[in-house]
Amino acid sequence: MKITIVRRISQFFFFALFVWFCIAATFGQAMWQLRGWPINWFLQLDPLVALSNLITTRSLYSGLAWALATIALTIVLGRFFCGWVCPFGSIHHFVGYLGSRGRKPSERIAVNHYKSTQKIKYYILFALLFAAAGGLIAYFCDLTGLNPALPVVFFLVLAAAASISTKSFPGARKISAAMIALAGVSAVGLFARLDGIVAASVQTGLLDPIPLVYRSVNLVLLPLSDSAFHFTSTAQRHYGATWLTGSIFAAAVLLNLLIPRFYCRIICPLGALYGILGRYAIWRVGRKTEKCSGCRLCDSRCEGACEPGERIRVPECVLCMNCLHTCKDDLVGYNTFRSISGEATDPDLSRRGFLVASLSGIAAVPFMRIDGKLDRNWENTLIRPPGSLSEPEFLNRCIKCGQCARVCPTNVIQPDEWKSGIEGLWTPTLNFRAGSSGCQMNCVACGHICPTAAIRPISLEEKLGRGPFEKAGPIRIGTAFIDRGRCLPWAMDKPCIVCQETCPVSPKAIFVKESFVTVRGGSLDVANAKGAVIELGKPSIQADRFGTGDFFALFDSGSSKMRKRILSNTEGSITIERGADLSGVKSIELQVRLQSPQVDPERCTGCGICEHECPVSGLKAVRVSAEGETRHGKHSLLLK
């Protein structure tokens, strides 16, 4: 069997597996639903996810250790992931193939030439990694610590040592320069406290292909295709920001019609990382013999645009192995020896470009945070899922993959559009109008699916504040506030209290204040009252309106006021419950019994079921705001 056929089988297998995981991320107990299927596996294999989280948190969370396997294989084999495993890459490969149908070999050869734009992906990689590195640099340079003088001395000693040994090993000069730079950075800390400025943020998810493809399938393609079948959910799933999520996916796929594997060659930061990791690969694609006719047919199906017939650009080769077969003279092979026509193992990068990209990355985070969203200007409508870490820690982990939004049975977890700026783009936030309910009390699915623990895997006991968590109380994601200007009983004297009814907390966090309010035009003169029937002075009320069970008549009975429920009415008479002495009643007040809801902030967990159920369907009359959320003490509402 040709190796390219083996590659196609591998691509098809992993793509099918990926689609299967996306479907299986459905709440339920059936065989095809969430029953321990490793639905995060591709995210866990992704070393960019692991590396970015490693840089910000200095730890490797649980399944992210899978990335070690990918890294090890890449070091030995090269960019096998791109050509053989990556589901996004397989889409590009296939669409690029469709686009090249009907093109002459000469046209295909032309389009598969290496282009200098391919170096853009390395700049993207460095910018994203350095955006995550602010904290790490501060840690090593001790910028936020107590004694910045120590690291300055430490780096200068290293720089001196390196420059003395310049002649003994290559690269010592570079190391020396880097140490001097680090000493310089540390020295800044001698004069300025940088705690407030130095910050890190995981933004690799913006362009990392694995989170991107998960998000595109889970939040756009699956709900779109399932709207015809309702196979994965009873109600239509809705997700915000689909215009952006979907356009980026569509653009990335359609660009293959211009240049095959456009995304892989030019944008993909994961491909760039693999390109750097694969520089010591034991086997590489390359020319075996000198006698080449220069026909360039090896380029005609080349996926990576790595020019295997010339001085092959190793970091660009995605191991598609097409050149092994397109070469009519069998000159290309996958060998342990270096290509006869030479190799370029370094990415096509300039030092200046590297510096600009990495410094931009470092600067971008403090630059974005000048908006104060992590400070006084925090966004109160940004309700994070239960178990979410505090905002800076959250942004240190979240890779914007959308798995929590996919798995949430009620569809309340939504990708954020702009509430928290570009830093928070696609991160999870709760929207109680979009889903089929609020956050369900007995559900902790999001924290258990989150591949990076940006949402902690909390237990039900912890969420509900039971057992060992009794003292800490339940996890709160916000507090509900009644808008008395919109609430039916408060603003319009209409009975309602759906919010109170659906509040799942025991005792309920929403309680009611009972009152009797005279309706508009409800002070009425009485002509005659006998038994249980009150005849009005003149027919002035709407027939059949007040017999609903919610209306009462208030009148003087003897020396005291008495209130009786109205059973029915005509335009000129009212029938009330029996048991009242109506003799001498000259006037009545027609009253409605109201139960007006109020929130007990000690009990409210911010689950938002009240907001979801509120019948004021436009701008809801009860809304959850992030005050009181457990993850931020400084957002607390109550004096404790």
Binding site: T234, C496, I497, T502, S506, K508, R565, E577, I609, E613
Partner: protein
């Protein structure tokens, strides 16, 4: 990928149009004119859109069995499975209601995503037993449905109802949007051209309501009649503005074969969600009746309420849906 453009023959370049070309062009132009003109003619709408019209509505059949008569059994016992058996036996046995080949729909209360121990939903044990009894009586199929308040999938899984239905051989009907169609109930105030879960009733010949007894702040109680709220779709929360009239509408909409109230535990506070064992009271009662109003009047006793405390019951009675004077039906009182 350059497309080949048909070449104009050398001798025709710059030449005037000939007869053949003229006829071909005229025919094509004429056809294009005819198509666009006739499309315009047939699609011409001089009036524009008018106000929304009421679409013709379907009806919900009457599932009651007149010859079975109005009956009620009140069973005392701590085992709901035994109680439901004795209750059914007391009013003539399951065979009176379910015949061979019947297709039975059981409307449970699965409103909330809470575990069965909290009794905010129909208990899975009593559901399994009822399904078993129906199938044993010869029912061709048994389906279980509800349109819950919380997320449907979560509700059916966490309440244990989904598992109970599957294990006992019933099918679970999730409230998919396609199953709702508009219904107008004659004599109803609010259920007019309103979406109802009619799809679940396809081919159904018998309907049983199976619900818990719960405190409910707005209406006073949630029992058999209020349980039909879970057949309603759309923006149903709006009916809370006049809930008693609406529950009366529900009593007019549904004419069940049987209703069963499980008062083994009664939710006496914090209803209808509950959420804590302390919201429940052990009342050791199961009520089985062919009259939903009578069943609810009997159930209200467990909540310490009289029919006059529940305006919807009086209204349902006045509308002819049943009697609140359940003792007039000579209730069969048995010990489970």
């Amino acid at each position: 990928m350059t497309k080949k453009i048909p070449k104009v023959p050398e001798d025709r370049k710059g030449a005037g149009i000939d007869r053949r070309d003229f006829i071909i062009r005229s025919v094509k132009a004429g056809a294009a004119l005819a198509v666009s003109g006739s499309l315009g003619y047939f699609l011409y709408d001089p009036a524009g859109p008018g106000p929304a019209s009421e679409k013709s509505s379907l009806a919900l059949p009457d599932f009651s069995i007149p010859e079975a008569g109005k009956k009620i059994a009140i069973v005392t016992g701590h085992d709901r499975v035994k109680s439901v058996n004795s209750g059914l036996k007391a009013i003539g046995g399951i065979g009176t209601f379910i015949r061979k080949g019947d297709r039975v729909l059981i409307k449970v209360n699965a409103a909330f995503a809470t575990p069965p121990a909290l009794c905010a939903t129909t208990h899975p044990e009593i559901l399994s037993e009822l399904v078993r009894l129906c199938l044993a009586a010869g029912a061709a199929s048994v389906s279980v449905t509800d349109n819950p308040i919380n997320n449907p999938e979560s509700c059916f899984e966490l309440s244990g109802i989904g598992e109970a239905a599957r294990a006992s051989g019933a099918s679970l009907i999730l409230p998919k949007e396609t199953l709702f169609s508009n219904l107008t109930v004659p004599g109803a105030n609010f259920i007019r051209n309103w979406p109802v879960l009619l799809g679940a009733f396809q081919g159904i010949t018998k309907l049983i309501g199976l619900s818990p007894i719960k405190d409910h702040n707005r209406s006073g109680a949630s029992m058999s009649i209020k349980n039909w709220y879970g057949l309603i779709g759309g923006r149903r929360n709006i009916f809370h503005q006049d809930i008693h009239t609406f529950i009366r509408d529900l009593a007019l909409m549904v004419k069940p074969t049987l209703v069963i109230l499980d008062g083994t535990f009664t939710m006496i506070s914090n209803g209808p969600t509950g959420g804590s064992i302390s919201d429940l009271k052990k009342t050791d009662t199961v009520i089985v009746s062919t009259d939903q109003v009578a069943a609810d009047a009997a159930g209200a006793v467990l909540l310490g309420k009289a029919p006059t405390d529940l305006p919807f019951l009086i209204k349902a009675e006045q509308a002819g849906a049943g009697t609140t004077d359940f003792s007039s039906l000579n209730p069969v009182r048995v010990t489970g």
